[in-house]
Symmetry: C2
């Protein structure tokens, strides 16, 4: 199987919703189908390379997301499959990314807040509730869920393999990947 045209799988969802976990599984499933060169724009890593020093204010978050979108756009138009995994809480900024990138697959990682907070893998929700972290999405900052995402992953009700599998199936159906015969 090979990539027929470049694309960006753009994850959006709360902290702890499962974006990074599905990213790794999606990368694994794509590799297993012969696509070794998926670029991953992970929120934290990209901040280090592109947005060091920016805060989590709305303005700074938007700048960070626009930079990720710019890089995804360059990769996509050169036929390179890529995945962006950042909270990207604002609808208008995701629409900016969609318009810039074109081949844009928005994936809502839609675990409910209480599930994400219950997982609290990094202990961030607790800190946010105690006021130690400001501008924390879902607690002290808004999250604007997508209205028409290409794929929704209910990570509290499905396995990570199922979530990633839905995305691969979408990519096949829409002609981004050569179908498996």
């Amino acid at each position: 199987m090979s990539v027929l045209k470049g694309f960006t799988v753009w994850f959006t969802g709360l902290s702890g919703s499962g974006k990074s976990t599905i990213t790794l599984e999606l990368d694994k499933q794509l590799r297993a189908r012969g696509i070794p060169n998926v670029e991953i724009m992970d929120g934290d890593e990209v901040r280090e390379h592109l947005s060091k020093g920016l805060t989590f204010s709305k303005e700074d978050r938007d700048i960070n997301i626009r930079r990720i979108a710019f890089v995804c756009h360059l990769l996509t138009r050169n036929g390179i499959p890529n995945i962006a995994a950042a909270i990207s809480p604002y609808r208008s900024t995701r629409e900016y990314a969609r318009d810039m990138i074109g081949n844009f697959i928005e994936v809502h990682v839609a675990a409910p807040l209480e599930v994400c907070e219950g997982r609290d893998v990094k202990g961030l929700y607790e800190k946010a509730r105690q006021g130690e972290i400001e501008n924390f999405t879902g607690v002290s900052d808004p999250y604007e869920a997508p209205l028409n995402p290409e794929v929704v992953c209910h990570t509290h009700e499905e396995t990570v393999e199922q979530s990633a599998g839905k995305i691969v199936a979408f990519l096949e159906r829409k002609g981004y990947l050569e179908p498996v015969l």
Copy 2:
């Protein structure tokens, strides 16, 4: 002719030395040889997309150059030929870019300061001399010329076609481009 492996042509030189002009000519010569997809990271455009708000202090210049290097690195490792055209005055930051990118062709656009200042296409040197612009490379900020660049373009003594042609010849010789038979 086609690209055999990704690469970054990294221009460095004073304002007015001819980086953008050679970039356009190099892109044209590569297109003429059947390579249509050269990505151009122009200093000004990249600042807009990746580094809005940064100043021209050493620290901020370094951050800007490291961001350009990160994007060139992603493109290069995916086989996409690309050109970076920024002043990039500091040797250590260019070495950072070289180490990160790997297939790195440093091109010193080496017109003397008095020639660049004589051209003063954008009127920037005059403003810098009058103190209206701070941290202006060559006037109030240092420029560290490369010690061992892959190519040197003496734009005050050769035509833009000759400058770009030297770079294409280097790329062929080093196995980045399929040679013309």
